[in-house]
Amino acid sequence: MALKGLDIFKLTPKTNCKECGQPTCMAFSMKVAQGSVQIEQCPHMSEEALATLGEATAPPMKSIKIGVGEEEHTIGGETVLFRHDKTFVSKSLYGVSVTDANADEVLAEAAKVDYVRIGEHMYVELVNVAFEGDKSAFLSAVKKAAATGRTLVLDVQDGDAAKAALDLVKDTKPILNGANPSNYEACNALAKEYGVVLGVRAEDLDALYTTVTALEGLGNKELVLDVGGASIKDAFGNAVKIRRAALKDNDRSFGYPSIVNVAKLAPGDERLQTALASLFTSKYGSIIILEKMDYGKALGLYGLRQNVFTDPQKPMTVETGLYPINGAGENDPCAFTVDFALTYFIISGEIERSGVPVNLIIPDAGGYSVLTAWSAGKLTADSIAKFIKDEGLEAKVKNHTLMVPGKISVLKGELEENLPGWKIVIAPNEAIGLPKFLKEFVA
C-alpha cells in the first residue's frame, strides 16, 4: 500500500523551509500521503529518496494514453475493484476487428453507430487489424483502418510486418499488440523506436508475468496486457486476476490496462460476443474488440458502459431546455420535470408511450430527483417560472398549459402567481400513470 505520512517525513530534510508551499515538512508529508500534493514539490529531496517515494506513491495501476488529437484516449488508472468504493475512471473502449478481406464491410457498418447519449459521444473508438500471415494484405487492411481516423490496435507478432505497419501509422499512436515470451525484446525495440504502447500476451499468467517484468527491466512501462483467447473461462479469469493483483495485492507488474478480444473468444457468434463484451465492461476489460458493431449490440452495451463508469458522487444530468416529444409544436401543452438523467428518461419514455405531443421543459434542478430537488430548494415555483421566462418559452409555445409532477403538486398555487395566464395542471405521482393521464387529458 501507499506510504504513511510518517514514512515520508523521515525522508524529508526536516528543515521546514516552506519552499514546497506547506508550513512544515510534516504537513507536506501528510499531504503527499493523501495524494493531494506531489512529492516533486519539495526541492530538497535527495535522488534516492525521490526514487523510493516515486515508486511507493505511484498509483497501483498505470494510466496509459493511446491515439492522438481528438482520438486520444486514456485507459487504466483504476484504483478500486467496485465502483461504489470510489469510481471507475477510464471507461472501456470498444473496437472492431478487421482483415483486408472484410475491412470495407465491417468499417462501413461500424461507422453507422454514432450518437450522443446524455452528453457522451457513442461510437466505435478503435479498429483492431489482425495479421494473418500475409504482409501485403495486412498492410492493405492497416491503410483501410487508418482511413477511418480511429485509433488502431495492431494485432501482429511478426516483427517485419509490425515494422512496416508502424511506418504507415506511427503518428496516430496505435497500440502494437504483439509482444510474447519469445519476441518481446525485438517487439520492445520497435515500440520504443516508434513511441507506441506495447501489448503483451502469453499462454498463461505465469509466462505473462515473467514477460512483463522482463519488459519493465528493459525500461518499458507503457504496456497493455492481453488476457488471451484460449477459452472464455481463461480470459475472464485472467482479466479478474490481473486487476485484482494490481489493486488488491498491490502487485504493480500487473498494474496495466487489459485488452480482450471477444471476436477470438466467440468467433461467428455475435450474440455471445455481446454477452462477453457486457461481462468485460462490468469486470475489468479496458479495451474490448468485437467482430462487428451495430445498434443491436451498441444500445445495450454503450448504455451499460455509461452506467458502470458514472461517478457515484456526481448524478448524471441532461441538458436544460425544451424537449418537444411526439412531434410537439407551439400549440401543444407543456410539462416539466428535473434534469436528473434517470428521471428524464423515464418521463420522456412514458410520454412517448402515450403518443400525446408534449413540450417537456427541463430546468436546472441540480441533478436531483423531483422530491429531492424540491426539498433541497433546487426546484421551486420561482426557479421554474424564471427558467420559462429566461428561455423565452412563453413566446415559443402558445399553449400555456403546464403539467406539474404530482409529487410536488403543492407548487400549484405559487406557480399560478408566478406565471399569470398559465393553466397549471397536476400530473400523476408516478411516471407509469402518465400515458393514461395524457390520453385522457387531450381526449
Binding site: H84, Y209, G300
Partner: protein
Amino acid sequence: MPFKHNPQVFSSSIGETVLGTGEKALTLGGENVWSLYSFDGAVKNPPAVGIEFSDQGPDRSLPGVAAAYEGAETLAELAKKAEQVPGVQFVAFRLAGSDPNGDNESVADSVAKVKEVADAISLPLVVTGSNNIDKDAELLPKVAEALQGKNALLLNAKEENYKGIAVAAVTAYGQKVSGESAVDINLAKQLNVLFSQLGIKNENLVENLGQGVVGYGFEYIISTVERVKLAALTQNDAALQIPVISPISTEAWTVKESLATEEEIPEWGSREERGIGLEVSTAVASIAAGSNAVILMHPASVATVSKLIAELV
C-alpha cells in the same frame, strides 16, 4: 518469476433455496466465491436462467419468439414450449391480466390459469402477480394454495403486503417467496428481517433487489447487488445471505431502444436484435454483480446467457 494468485474464498456463503420438485428441482445460491469466479473456487450452483411468458400470450411480432411458440395456443401448450427452449432451467409465468389497471381479471380466473401452466410443466415455476399491492395481497395466497406440492416461487412480496403473502405461501402451503425492495441495501435487509420475524427461514426466500435495464440508472442496481453480496460474504450478514433473482424480461422490452419500430428509427435496425441486446447486456451485468437467477423473455437471450454461464463455471 511466476505470478502469485491469491484466490478469494469467503468463510461465509449465500444460503441455498430449492425451487420445484423431483429431478428438475433447481437450487439457487450456496456460493462462497464471487459470482462466476470459478478460478477462485467451485461455484456451488451456477446462476440459473428462466424464461417468462404472460397470460396475454407471447409477442409473436418477434420472429424468434413466434418460432419458439409456434402452434401453441392454450396456456398449457405455451408452457410446454417455454420449458423446451434450450438453456431454460425454470419457467416464469406472469399474471398480467390480473392488473386492476388493466383487465382486472378475477382471482379465480388467474388461479385457474396458474394451475393450467403448473400442471403442464416439470420445470420449477415462478409466478409474478399483478404487481399491484392490494391485488397481489389477495391473489398470491390463492395462487399458493392452488400450487400445493409444486414448491413454486411467488415473486414480489413488498413491505406493504409481505405478511399475508409470505405466511400463506410459505407457512401454509409450502411455497417459496421473493421480497422486492427498491434498489437499496438497507431496504432489502429490512424486508428480509421482517420475513424472519414471521418465522420464515432463509431457505424459503429469494430476494429481488429491484430491477432496471442497462442505460437507465443501472449503476444503482449494480452497486446494490454488489454491496448486498459483499455484506453477505465478507461480513456474514445472515439477513442478506439469500439468493438474488433478477426479473429482466419486462424491463428490457419496455424502453425506447426495444419498443421503437424499424419504421420510426430505421438506422437502429432490427427491433428484435435490439431487445435481445438489451436483455443479454442487462442479464450478464446483473450476474456479474452477483445475481443468482435471471428471468428473460426472448429464447435467443436465454440461449446466449446460459451458454456464457456454461463456459464460465
